[in-house]
Symmetry: C2
Subunit: 337 residues, 2 copies
């Protein structure tokens, strides 16, 4: 059995280029006892992957040159030497940017297609949804009546942050790029306010949207949007930091002035809590609650989500560029099968 893989050919400098990747066909190893042969249905594209392409120090090892790009996948079992998996099972796995893979059954988690569309295991009911849930509840701790602001707000993390904040009684102000996305925030996703950060009136719109200041800023973009929001942070505001997608392609520290001293002064004078996190840290404390609550909220329509499905593994690199550039609206999936 052969698999088509997208491997990392070179470490991107700035925006990833086609030439940084290579498409190769590889013969898969034979199945050993306990293994399954998987056919990829959906590949998840997520901002953290930009970090894995780089060898800068981070929380996880980089993808090696020549190795298949990593990524979460939803797969169908097409052959099984495991008693726990049957041909036809749909599973969540982490087989990366490829059409097929051989994996031990322990690296797969069976999904119930009747409970929710299987693709949601990569979005609202998967890692992005959990990132939103745990980061907001453990670090953000929104209280009823407080104001929660999140950017990239139509995306899989941002949209869940806003909707969970609403469920907890807070006001949700979402920021996104372009008027269509901004409108979707209130019309589709139930935010109290949707703002377009590309609008020339963005700073005024933001000020008008947070008359009582900002109690939680869920940081997943960085850049100028963050600079605009921090001015409105209230005393004791919380800033969970789960991503900085606006800066991921940066090749050097931007020109001055140096805003770090001013930011630290704000941390001091406003008694801010700024806390970076990777969702894994909260699995044990919040995993079970997340699965129960979020599935329920999705079923009863309290939490909605949107998926942008790109067809064909050959389009993954371009789609990934689009993800970093804000070209998509919702959770970005590559339909591989």
């Amino acid at each position: 059995m052969r698999t088509t893989q997208i491997t990392l050919a070179a470490r991107p400098v700035g925006e990833p280029q086609d030439s940084d990747f290579e498409t190769v066909e590889t013969e898969l190893p034979p199945l050993e006892e306990g293994d399954v042969l998987l056919r990829t249905l959906y590949l998840s594209l997520d901002p953290y992957m930009r970090g894995r392409m780089s060898d800068a120090k981070s929380y996880a090892a980089p993808v090696g040159i020549g190795d298949t790009m990593v990524g979460a996948t939803v797969c169908e079992v097409v052959e099984s030497r495991s008693e726990k998996r049957t041909v036809g099972d749909v599973v969540l796995s982490y087989t990366g940017w490829q059409t097929h893979a051989v994996a031990p059954d322990s690296m797969t988690q069976r999904l119930d297609p009747d409970a929710a569309p299987v693709s949601t295991a990569l979005g609202v009911l998967g890692m992005p949804g959990f990132t939103a849930y745990a980061g907001l509840l453990e670090i953000g701790r929104p209280k009823p009546g407080e104001t929660v602001v999140v950017a990239a707000a139509t995306g899989p993390v941002g949209s869940a942050v806003g909707q969970v904040a609403r469920i907890k009684g807070a006001r949700a102000v979402g920021i996104a790029g372009g008027p269509e996305k901004a409108r979707a925030l209130t019309e589709e996703l139930g935010f109290d306010v949707g703002l377009d950060h590309r609008s020339p009136t963005f700073r005024d719109d933001l000020a008008a949207a947070v008359p009582d200041g900002v109690d939680v800023y869920f940081e997943n973009v960085g850049g100028p949007v963050t600079a605009a929001v921090t001015r409105h942070l209230n005393t004791y505001a919380r800033v969970p930091v789960c991503g900085l997608v606006a800066d991921y392609n940066a090749t050097q520290a931007p020109e001055g002035p140096d805003r770090l001293p001013g930011f630290m002064r704000l941390v001091l004078t406003k008694s801010l809590t700024v806390r970076g996190f990777i969702q894994d840290e909260f699995r044990e404390a919040y995993g079970a609650d997340f699965r129960r609550e979020m599935s329920q909220w999705v079923r009863d329509g309290q939490v909605r989500y949107r998926e942008d499905v790109v067809d064909g593994l050959e389009n993954a690199v371009d789609a990934f560029r689009g993800l970093l550039a804000g070209r998509f609206h919702g959770k970005v999936l590559v339909k591989v099968g």
Copy 2:
């Protein structure tokens, strides 16, 4: 009765100048029922006072132009219309930069000269000591074997941070300006390592002093020292931010490059907790424990302190400049009486 006061004549730009202050003689009002007349024995000088001279937004209102500079004091009661205070009582108050004051008894707290030198109510047993204690225990949460780093380490906050960290079983690495202060950290104050940030080998010395990285960086200075330490922060490190004395005289954002994106990236990839605080926030939760534990530690010599006493209110402005410039070694007091 007349008092000699130092009032704020102009808002300093950069380092405070003599011309930013005025010395005036004022007639005190007559005592009303419940009031005491106080003679200042010691005036505390603290970095936060630089913030009060400025009208930039902060956690407390600025001192008005023409108003007496604020500050904590230890005073003797020289006249009393209160049943709760007797002539000769020594009290902690907040009467500011002046020789005498009239205050309601509720604004004074009686000190026991037999329990500890009364000046310690302005230092190790007062606000600076409590800042160290509460910030370290509530935000820093040092665990046995972890490494705690603090700068301005011979000062009243830094020296208490290091010594309390040691009591909690952590390694204490102190940073101070000049070889004499660095030596005092290990020889007088019981730090595991004392470093001189003015030494040309400071960055290498620091790296050698924290072979297992830094788990808690108690931030009270900012500037280049902070930049050097942050490189060594471990995953899940905690950064209580209680002061930024190196930047207090800054008149504008320093030249680039802009280090804020790099700092936020560090917050993210290391899952850091950066938390600003003003000690008042923790009074209720930690005040009683602090009074009991710290007095005991000072009595039995587990926590030592050093005071730099400047003679005469007329030298307060110059001493305050010296405080910001790192000219002193320990807690800076002006002996007024």
